[in-house]
C-alpha cells in the first residue's frame, strides 16, 4: 500500500505541475475562455504563460525537475542527511539554462549566490525581507516528505533542514512545514482529508518555529497557518459550489507565488472537494501560480488516493520526462522499510 501511495504522491506532483503550467499567470476568466470551461487535461502551455510556451504537453517545470533530482540523490545516499544536499543539487540542476530560465525568483537568486553570480540585489542590509516569502520550498517538499509517511514531525524537521539554505525565510519554510506534515499524513494508510488539513495547520506552525530555531530570515507577513485556517473555512463553506469556492479562495486567500497565499489556497481546494481529484482541477484553475498549486495539490491528492489520478496523464508525463515513477516509489519504499 505505501508503495502505491508514494507512487501517487510523486506522479501527482508531476502531473499537477504539468497541468498547471498551461494556465500559469492567467486569470480564472482567461482560463475558462481558453478552455471552454475548466482545464482538466494536460495541454501544451501557450506563449502567454510562465514558461513562455516552451513546454510540451505533460512537461512539469522547475519544482518537479528539481524534486526528481533530489529524490534520486536521497535514494542514492540511502538517507536524508546533512544540510547541504539541496544546495549541492541546486548547483548542478541550475547549470542547465533551461532549468534556470523556468525557475522561481528565490531559486534563481539562491543558485546565483551559490555560483558566485551577482544578481544586483539591493537590500542586503535588511533584517526583515518580504522578497523571499515564496512557495518554492513548499512546492518541492514532497521530495523530502515521502521518506516519512505518518511521521509529520520528522517530515517537518527534515524538510526545513533540507531547504533552509536555499529558501532561507520563515514564511517560506512555514509553507514547507505545512506541506511536509500534510503529505506525511496523506501517506498514512488511514489518512482522511480532514486529518491532512489538520496536519497542514500544525505543520505550518511547526515549520515556523523550526525555521525560527535555525534563525531563518524573518518577514513581516501574514502567517501561513492563519491563512490555511481561512482557506479551509472558505473551502468547507462552499463544498457544494465549485465556482464560488474558486472565486472566494482567490479573492480572500490569494493565489500568488507567496507561500502565505498559494500554499493555503491548495488546502482550501482540498477542503472544498474532500481531497478528491477535483482538488487538483480546482488548483490548476484558480489562476496565477497554478503550476505550483498544481504540484502541491497533485502530491496531496495522489498520496491520499493514488487511484484518483488519471493513468493516461501519468503515462504522458512519465513519457515526456522519462520519469520512472514506479521504480522511484519502490526504491523509496524499500528505503523506508529498510
Amino acid at each position: 500500500m505505501i508503495e502505491r501511495k508514494l507512487y501517487g504522491c510523486i506522479a501527482g506532483a508531476a502531473v499537477g505541475e504539468a497541468m498547471g503550467a498551461a494556465t500559469a499567470t492567467w486569470t480564472t476568466d482567461m482560463i475558462r475562455a481558453a478552455h471552454g470551461g475548466y482545464l482538466t487535461t494536460l495541454q501544451k502551455p501557450p506563449v502567454s504563460t510562465k514558461c513562455k510556451g516552451r513546454f510540451v504537453a505533460g512537461q512539469p517545470g522547475d519544482a518537479f525537475t528539481f524534486s526528481w533530482q533530489l529524490l534520486g540523490r536521497f535514494v542514492a545516499d540511502g538517507e536524508i542527511h546533512g544540510e547541504h544536499a539541496a544546495a549541492e543539487e541546486l548547483l548542478t540542476w541550475g547549470a542547465d539554462p533551461d532549468h534556470l530560465d523556468s525557475a522561481g525568483y528565490v531559486t534563481r537568486e539562491s543558485y546565483c549566490a551559490l555560483a558566485g553570480i551577482d544578481t544586483g540585489y539591493r537590500y542586503p542590509f535588511l533584517t526583515f525581507d518580504h522578497h523571499k516569502i515564496s512557495n518554492e520550498a513548499a512546492a518541492r517538499t514532497a521530495a523530502v516528505a515521502v521518506f516519512y509517511p505518518g511521521d509529520c514531525e520528522t517530515a517537518c524537521q527534515k524538510a526545513i533542514m533540507v531547504y533552509k539554505n536555499i529558501y532561507n525565510n520563515m514564511v517560506s519554510l512555514s509553507g514547507a512545514g505545512a506541506m511536509a506534515a500534510a503529505i506525511s499524513e496523506a501517506l498514512r494508510e488511514s489518512a482522511t482529508c480532514h486529518s491532512v488539513l489538520a496536519a497542514a495547520v500544525h505543520g505550518a506552525r511547526r515549520g515556523y518555529d523550526i525555521a525560527d530555531s535555525y534563525r531563518a530570515q524573518p518577514a513581516a507577513c501574514p502567517l501561513v497557518s492563519r491563512r490555511i485556517e481561512l482557506a479551509i473555512e472558505i473551502g468547507l463553506k462552499y463544498q457544494n459550489d465549485f465556482d464560488r469556492a474558486i472565486a472566494e479562495i482567490e479573492a480572500c486567500v490569494g493565489n500568488s507565488s507567496a507561500a502565505n497565499e498559494s500554499v493555503p489556497a491548495v488546502f482550501g481546494c482540498l477542503a472544498a472537494t474532500g481531497g478528491s481529484a477535483a482538488a487538483l482541477t480546482m488548483a490548476v484553475n484558480l489562476g496565477n501560480d497554478t503550476d505550483m498549486m498544481g504540484a502541491m495539490a497533485g502530491a496531496l491528492v495522489g498520496a491520499l488516493d493514488p487511484e484518483a489520478l488519471s493513468p493516461a496523464d501519468i503515462q504522458l508525463v512519465s513519457a515526456v520526462g522519462s520519469y520512472d515513477f514506479a521504480t522511484m516509489a519502490a526504491n523509496i519504499a524499500h528505503q523506508i522499510q529498510g
Binding site: C221, E250, E261
Partner: protein, 352 residues
C-alpha cells in the same frame, strides 16, 4: 472646519505618517517594540536596517515626496491634470536623488525608467497579465485626487486612473488607489462619517475596476474589496485592544507592500483609530510597509478630522528637512500648498 483645514490635515497626515513610519518599515510589530522600547510615537532617526537608513529625523520617503510633487503639479496646471501631467511628475521626481535612489518602489522604479526610455525590454511582454504590478505605489500617492475632488468620487476616480496608468496599469493596483482617493474625497465632505468613508473606498474599488476592465491588465489574485472588508471587520472587533488588532491584521490580512495587504489593512486601522495622529501611530507600529500605511491612513484621517491632532513642530521639522529640488534649495511648504490647492478647487468648479 474649513476645506483648507481638511486639505492641510490630509497633507500633514501623509507627511508625518511617512516620516515616522520610515523608521519602522519592514519590521514586525514585535521587532519594532523590541528595537525602540515600545511603540514609535514621534519622529526619530531611522535605524540601520531599514530602507530609510540614509535618512535623518523628519525626512520623508517616496510616499509623501510623490504626494507633494503631485500637489505642485495640481498648482502648476491649475487643476487641469491628465495622464501626461502624472508622467511628468514621475520624471521630475526621478531627478530628486534624495528620494528616488533609496526610496523608489520596485515597480515604480522600473516603470519610470521605461518612461524615460532607459529600459528597452519588457521581460513580461509575453504575458497577458501583470500579476506583479500590485504594489501600493499607486495608493500611496492617491490622496491628492481625493482632496482635490471633495465629494466628487467620479472625478477622483478619473484622475486616479490617469495617475496609475504610467506605472501600475492593473485593475487591482488602480482599485487600491481609487479606494484611497474616494475615501479622502468623502472625508473632505462636511457631514461624513467613518462608515461613509469605508463605503466610499469600496465604491472606488468597484467603480474603478468597472472602468478599466478593457484598458488595464486584469490581475489574477486577491481582491481589494474582500480584503478591505476583512480588515474593517477586524478593526471593529478589536478596536479596544490595540495589540490584538495589530496582530490580527498583520497575521491574516497582511501589511506588506502588496496593496491587497497594506492598503486593505489600513482601513482596519482607520476604523479603530481615535484621531488622526492615533491613526498615524497605529500605521507606524503595524509592521511591514508601515510608512505607507501611516501616510495613507494619516491622509484619510487628516482629511476627516483636520490638522488638530498633529504637532506644528513636526510640520516645521518636515518642511525644514525636505526639498522639492535636487539642489536642496526649495524647502517643502505644506501650509502654503494647502492654501494654493484650496484656491484651485474653486477655480475647477467654474466650467471652462
Amino acid at each position: 472646519m474649513t476645506r483648507k483645514d481638511k486639505i492641510l490635515g490630509a497633507l500633514l497626515g501623509a507627511a508625518i505618517g511617512d516620516a515616522m513610519g520610515a523608521v519602522t518599515e519592514t519590521k514586525t510589530t514585535q521587532a519594532i517594540v523590541q528595537r525602540h522600547g515600545g511603540f514609535v510615537t514621534s519622529l526619530v532617526d531611522p535605524v540601520c536596517d531599514c530602507f530609510a537608513h540614509n535618512n535623518r529625523r523628519g525626512m520623508v520617503t517616496d510616499d509623501f515626496s510623490l504626494v507633494y510633487l503631485i500637489g505642485l503639479a495640481y498648482i502648476k496646471e491649475q487643476g487641469r491634470v491628465d495622464q501626461k501631467t502624472f508622467e511628468q511628475v514621475l520624471i521630475d521626481w526621478s531627478m530628486l536623488d534624495q528620494y528616488f535612489l533609496d526610496h523608489s518602489g520596485p515597480n515604480t522604479k522600473v516603470e519610470i525608467l521605461r518612461l524615460k526610455g532607459e529600459i528597452p525590454v519588457d521581460k513580461y511582454a509575453h504575458l497577458k497579465t501583470r500579476n506583479h504590478l500590485i504594489t501600493n505605489g499607486t495608493a500611496m500617492k492617491a490622496a491628492p485626487m481625493g482632496f482635490m475632488n471633495p465629494g466628487d468620487y467620479d472625478r477622483a476616480i478619473t484622475e486616479t486612473i490617469a495617475m496609475c496608468m504610467p506605472t501600475h496599469p492593473t485593475d487591482v493596483a488602480i482599485s487600491a488607489a481609487a479606494a484611497v482617493s474616494c475615501a479622502v474625497s468623502e472625508a473632505m465632505t462636511e457631514s461624513t462619517s467613518k462608515d461613509k468613508i469605508i463605503q466610499a473606498a469600496l465604491y472606488g474599488v468597484k467603480e474603478s475596476c468597472r472602468r478599466v476592465r478593457d484598458t488595464a491588465y486584469q490581475v489574477s489574485g486577491a481582491k481589494m474589496d474582500r480584503r478591505i472588508e476583512m480588515a474593517v471587520e477586524l478593526g471593529l472587533r478589536y478596536c479596544h485592544d490595540t495589540e490584538r488588532l495589530l496582530w490580527e491584521l498583520a497575521s491574516l490580512v497582511g501589511t506588506s507592500l502588496v496593496c491587497t495587504e497594506s492598503v486593505a489593512a489600513l482601513f482596519g486601522l482607520f476604523i479603530a483609530a481615535k484621531n488622526a495622529f492615533d491613526m498615524v501611530v497605529l500605521g507606524v507600529n503595524a509592521g511591514g510597509d508601515t510608512d505607507s500605511m501611516a501616510s495613507i491612513g494619516g491622509a484619510i484621517y487628516g482629511a476627516y478630522e483636520g490638522p488638530g491632532s498633529f504637532s506644528d513642530a513636526d510640520r516645521q521639522l518636515i518642511e525644514h528637512m525636505n526639498f522639492s529640488d535636487r539642489d536642496l534649495t526649495r524647502h517643502f511648504d505644506i501650509l502654503g500648498m494647502a492654501d494654493q490647492l484650496d484656491a484651485i478647487i474653486d477655480k475647477r468648479r467654474i466650467p471652462a
